[in-house]
């Protein structure tokens, strides 16, 4: 293979703006990636916990709604969902909202909005299932006891069930958290200049395809490794003394 390796490429000035080097592109890209993933995760965690709770409440209608949600969002490919959010949904919005989305927002902002909603709702379905499993793994006596003490249902979830359920599901929750960072790369397909899109752009402009992709691989890898370590730390931090099942020693 005839290939000109040049690791100096990242420090070369781009053809776009004087003073801007290719490494800057990767930094902007990483910024978008993190912005997508964190906001998407916030949505996923809030909505997913709510849905997970609904799946376990003693009310058929509420748990039914949550089940339908999960089945829909889990069983349609992520990319299809993204295209729906980006290309179809805006046309269904009421006129003023459509105006705002298509004209007032910058192209990057509207793409960002679509991808954050898409990833947030997609991941919420997965978080929901984890939360449900966590709650159902608790001994039934825990909610009976809380009831017997006079707690009302929302308090039982808030004070007794969720704090325990979340501790149990930290490991699988961590992998969903990492997934949303990885999945954020779908944003490149609707023109948002996150890490993957910046990588492809660098590759096109410099012909240093290998360096660009190797750098990006390393960035994703170390990002995810650090998040994993962070979550391990959190897990240790919230571990309950005297309980091995919850990660304590």
């Amino acid at each position: 293979m005839d290939y000109n390796w040049d690791w100096g490429v990242f420090f070369r000035e781009t053809t776009f703006e004087p003073g801007e080097i290719y490494l800057d592109w990767f930094i902007y890209g990483l910024g978008w990636t993190i912005a997508i993933a964190l906001v998407g995760w916030a949505i996923a965690l809030l909505l997913g916990s709510l849905l997970g709770v609904l799946r376990t409440v003693p009310n058929r209608w509420l748990s039914g709604i949550a089940t339908v949600y999960v089945e829909i969002f889990r069983n349609v490919p992520l990319l299809v969902q993204l295209f729906i959010w980006y290309f179809l949904i805006p046309d269904l919005l009421p006129e003023p909202l459509q105006q705002w989305y298509k004209l007032d927002l910058s192209p990057a902002a509207s793409a960002y909005l679509s991808v954050v909603i898409c990833l947030g709702l997609f991941t919420a379905a997965r978080v929901c299932e984890l939360v449900r499993t966590g709650i159902q793994a608790l001994p039934k006596g825990q909610s009976s006891t809380a009831l017997a003490l006079g707690f009302r249902l929302p308090q039982i979830y808030r004070q007794v069930l969720l704090p325990q359920a979340f501790r149990i599901i930290i490991p699988p929750l961590t992998s969903e958290f990492l997934n949303i960072f990885k999945n954020s790369s779908v944003a490149s397909l609707i023109g948002l200049m996150e890490l993957l899109a910046q990588t492809r752009q660098t590759a096109e402009f410099t012909a240093n395809l290998f360096e660009a992709f190797i750098l990006t691989t390393l960035i994703y890898f170390s990002l995810n490794m650090s998040l994993m370590l962070l979550m391990r730390y959190v897990e240790k931090k919230v571990a309950v003394p005297g309980l091995i099942a919850m990660g304590g020693k």
Binding site: S144, A146, L149, G150, V240, P241
Partner: protein
């Protein structure tokens, strides 16, 4: 204090309770015994509405459970309950286990609740364990905490469902001692238990259940003293558990 009036309950087609009727007066200690599956747990859970029943009524301190307008959580907050498997909240420290309900349910001041919690821990002999977590205590200690947790709500009556049957034998007495002390202080209690020593010591009355029915309901003295007057089922049962 508690009045149970012709209560019947079904799980599907299976009738767990049949026309159960009895009363518990203020200050009384009533022991409920009977073979496994006779409906003891079910009956006691009905009293604080943890289990619904289909016929009859139960009134606790004059409040009817069958009345759909009754605020059940509010009623349950006044009835203390201790379960076979302790069911402490494992993610909370011992003192937090004792204060969470008074603070969140009764809206008490946190510092007052903590002070009271420490008092109760002292009373059940665990004052040095306040900052531990349930997983760090033995079964007997956990059950004593569970009793203290129920007492922290200043209940008008305490219900116990086989509080010692999940314990190693050497831990049974530390829990019974707390219960005896409680009985002697005048607490109204209804206890499902097979600890006949406990019944002899503090019970006012003994109820014997079989197949969902209350078969015997009599003063302790006649239950243990005049066994020939007891039903055949009760005699067989007593013979079995009094052997050891």
């Amino acid at each position: 204090m508690i009045s149970i009036d012709k209560v019947s309950k079904w799980y599907g087609d299976f009738q767990v309770l049949t026309d159960c009727t009895t009363q518990v007066q203020k200050g009384e200690v009533v022991v409920v015994c009977g073979p496994s599956g006779s409906g003891k747990s079910t009956l006691i859970k009905c009293i604080n509405a943890l289990e619904p029943f289909q016929k009859g009524d139960i009134a606790v301190d004059g409040v009817s459970l069958a009345n759909p307008k009754t605020d059940l959580p509010k009623l349950r907050a006044r009835v203390g309950m201790v379960f076979q498997h302790f069911e402490l909240f494992p993610h909370l420290s011992i003192i937090d286990n004792l204060t969470i309900a008074p603070v969140k349910v009764l809206g008490r001041d946190k510092t007052e609740a903590v002070a009271k919690g420490h008092q109760l821990l002292e009373r059940v002999g665990l004052k040095d364990h306040a900052s531990k977590h349930p997983g760090q205590l033995s079964g007997g200690q956990q059950q004593r905490v569970a009793i203290a947790r129920a007492l922290a709500m200043d209940p008008i009556v305490m219900l116990f469902d086989e509080p010692t049957s999940a314990l190693d034998p050497e831990m049974v007495n530390e829990v019974l001692d707390v219960m005896v002390q409680l009985a002697q202080e005048g607490m109204t209690m209804m206890c499902v238990t097979h600890e006949m020593g406990f019944a002899r010591k503090v019970a006012s009355r003994v109820i014997f259940m079989d197949q969902g029915k209350i078969i015997e309901d009599c003063a302790k003295e006649s239950f243990f003293g005049d066994t020939t007057a007891r039903s055949e089922r009760a005699q067989q049962f007593l013979a079995k558990i009094l052997q050891h």
